[in-house]
Symmetry: C2
Subunit: 436 residues, 2 copies
């Protein structure tokens, strides 16, 4: 016997069993259908880009994680997110697009991270972005948390993923705060501190701020900002236009989201949300599944002022959000939130022709398909028991037997595989029997 090749997929590359794949597809479809129903167009883009295009804005870590290759004399790389390709696309097709340009994408991206549980090197990101031409009203910021809520309402009603919380902040509040305190030269360090504030005590936080050379009054102002509710913002000892614009934007976004008809409590102001360092310029948000804090943020995004600066001198502001689908699915699966369906196929009926009654079986399939009922024919030549056992293993709810007796009488045996009940029905009644 010759040596056989290994059959394992690459480490960090998800490959599912059929019943798991059906759960995955169900989540993916809920996300895509919700995006589409809100007027977003699914745009498909290449997975490969020229390396210089992909890395124009990327920093150190991204550059190390990238999958790069050379074909002919062109240096290429696999996309590591959907935003860079979108920026190139909008700059390229600018004259042919209608703005605001609303697009979504459900597709794979690649990052050669160190392999570890729950981290994938090939993974799905499900992104929505709205790009304006020079301007984009703040109402579009408000649309994002509403859209997130629509997705997670649906995921919860269909898959019991549970309650969720969308925490919203605005980078202008943070920028305004730093401007007011005249500490913009240390904003990166302070943002990084705010980002990990949940994990440290107030004293530790103040100590760290003092180490950056901040006077006590400034540290206290920062702390009181981070502990503020939405109503308390205007009364804080922070002045300047940037902060005021931030207050008015966050008020508008929260009020709008809370008047959308979705339980208002899912939307919360959270001044500790930071989201990266230099990309976002306004509204920012994160989403947590309340029962599964260990998942981290399952959907996040925000407002940016300049999508495509490296490709065009036009101002293209936008707002977007992204769901890390592969990671979310993996976590839901490992935490037994997803109950894999016993039905492993879309087929509602398995049609079994016997005694060579093939054209009758095909007629029944045609009738069922016309009624919108997915079904398949078992063509096996073996014993009836074995052929029915296939239907059983696949969890197909109905079996239709098509033998000589059935063909002669025009009455076909249909078996409900769950209840075991058999009925004899004529062809035209089978579809409505299965539908009910």
């Amino acid at each position: 016997m010759t040596r056989k090749l290994s059959t394992k997929p690459l480490s960090g590359f998800m490959e599912l069993l059929p019943e798991q794949q059906r759960s995955f597809n169900q989540i993916m479809n809920i996300i895509a259908d919700t995006y589409e129903s809100c007027g977003f167009i699914h745009m498909d883009q290449p997975l490969l880009e020229r390396k210089d295009v992909l890395l124009a804005k990327a920093g150190g870590e991204t550059e190390q994680q990238i999958y790069e290759l050379t074909k002919g004399d062109t240096e290429l790389a696999l996309r590591f997110d959907h935003t860079v390709p979108l920026a190139r696309y909008v700059a390229d097709k600018y004259g042919d697009l209608t703005f605001p340009f609303r697009r979504y994408v459900v597709g794979k991206v690649y990052r050669g991270e160190r392999a570890q549980a729950g981290r994938f090197r090939e993974f799905y990101q499900c992104d929505v972005d709205i790009i304006g031409n020079e301007k984009l009203a703040v109402g579009y910021d408000a649309e994002m948390p509403i859209m997130i809520a629509r997705v997670f309402e649906k995921l919860n009603s269909e898959l019991q993923t549970g309650a969720y919380k969308i925490r919203i902040n605005n980078r202008k509040l943070l920028t305004g705060l730093f401007e007011s305190l005249e500490i913009t030269d240390r904003s990166a360090e302070i943002l990084a501190l705010i980002d990990k504030k949940e994990k440290i005590s107030n004293d530790e936080f103040i100590d760290s701020l003092n180490e950056l050379g901040l006077p006590d009054t400034s540290s206290e102002t920062i702390l009181s900002f981070l502990n503020s509710s939405l109503d308390e913002l205007p009364a804080l000892p922070i002045s300047g236009e940037q902060f005021e614009v931030g207050v008015s934007e966050i008020l508008f976004v929260l009020q709008t989201a809370q008047s959308s008809g979705i339980t208002p409590e899912v939307f919360a102001f959270d001044p500790t949300i930071v989201r990266g360092l230099d990309y976002y310029t306004g509204t920012i948000f994160e989403t947590q599944l309340i029962q599964y804090p260990q998942f981290g943020s399952v959907c996040s995004g925000g407002r940016y002022d300049n999508l495509a600066g490296q490709y065009t001198s036009r101002a293209l502001p936008g707002v977007g959000m992204s769901i890390g689908l592969s990671r979310l699915f993996d976590q839901l699966l490992k935490n037994d939130v997803l109950k894999t369906s016993a039905q492993k196929t879309a087929s509602q009926a398995l049609i079994i022709p016997m005694d060579n009654k093939i054209s009758e079986a095909l007629t029944i399939q045609k009738e069922l398909l016309a009624a919108g009922i997915s079904c398949e024919i078992n063509w096996g030549a073996g014993k009836l028991d074995k052929r029915m056992s296939y239907g059983n293993k696949m969890g197909i709810p109905f079996i239709v037997l098509v033998g000589e007796q059935e063909a002669d009488s025009g009455l076909y045996t249909i078996k409900n595989m769950e209840s075991g009940i058999e009925e004899k029905l004529n062809i035209t009644d089978i579809a409505s029997y299965i539908s009910n």
Copy 2:
């Protein structure tokens, strides 16, 4: 001004405008939905594989076209078809699968071909395969042309792609012919000749056969086989089990397909169909769009005896088919078969809040979404004309105006953008008005 990067996608990588993408998605959905309705499961697999796995069976041309890369110390490559990853998958998950294993995939594959019109380096293949465990009844062969017909019936009814023909042959007929004539040592050359027979005269064909050292009687037998109808096959001067099995299989496949309720004439026996050289072992088929012979075969496939020989010693026979979606779409687009819809989005309604009537606009959106009507809100702060013009450019059929007057009276202005007719309706009537 700093120099800006080029925004063009890579040569040979398709990137569409939104209205084109909608047409593409429509075709893709017809294909995927038809596959799914017949009990196939959409299996998603990695786009990257280990190079040795991908190239285990590939020959010279494929090896040159492959996109390869190295990450860490692993040699990787982008998949060039869906069959090799399927073979690895079935061998890997063998114990967890129920056979016959029915899977489909709609996904991208990569071949670094020389760039030319209508040839893509990144392109969609839409594959269906049914894999048996040691055995697979010939009925599954018959299922493939029936499935192709279902797809192209639907494409024609929704997109007017026109009439099509599925030409079917069986490799056992050809093998049996060569065995009977004792010319199996030259079968590759003769198959190549048969493959181009349509382009040369009978005399040229016979001359070429004679150059391979065939006696006239053998050449004439081959020619009479190639000119035979299905009924004439048994009477040909060709003997041996292989040929007889081929005759019985092709008869069964044709008769079954023709009793499926689809116009029988779309299925035709064509002894000149060859399909590659050493992969297929039984039923083989090709599909032509009759009005567009220049497209070549738009869907082809066949029966193979041994899917995964390089990974497992188990016998895994299968039958499959593949639609080259990117190429088909590109041809349909260039030949004006696809009429790009004036509607560039799924949105049926554009809701325009005025006078700060935001919560009313969100309530209307919620009602419409609950009724299954895709819609979006225009958040723009500009003049009403400009906001309506967005809806017009996107081809959104209805605009709903939500101003002070509307909110006070509870009657909202809804404008049919095609007829120009305006109605005043209360919230609960808007959804049914749009649906009708």
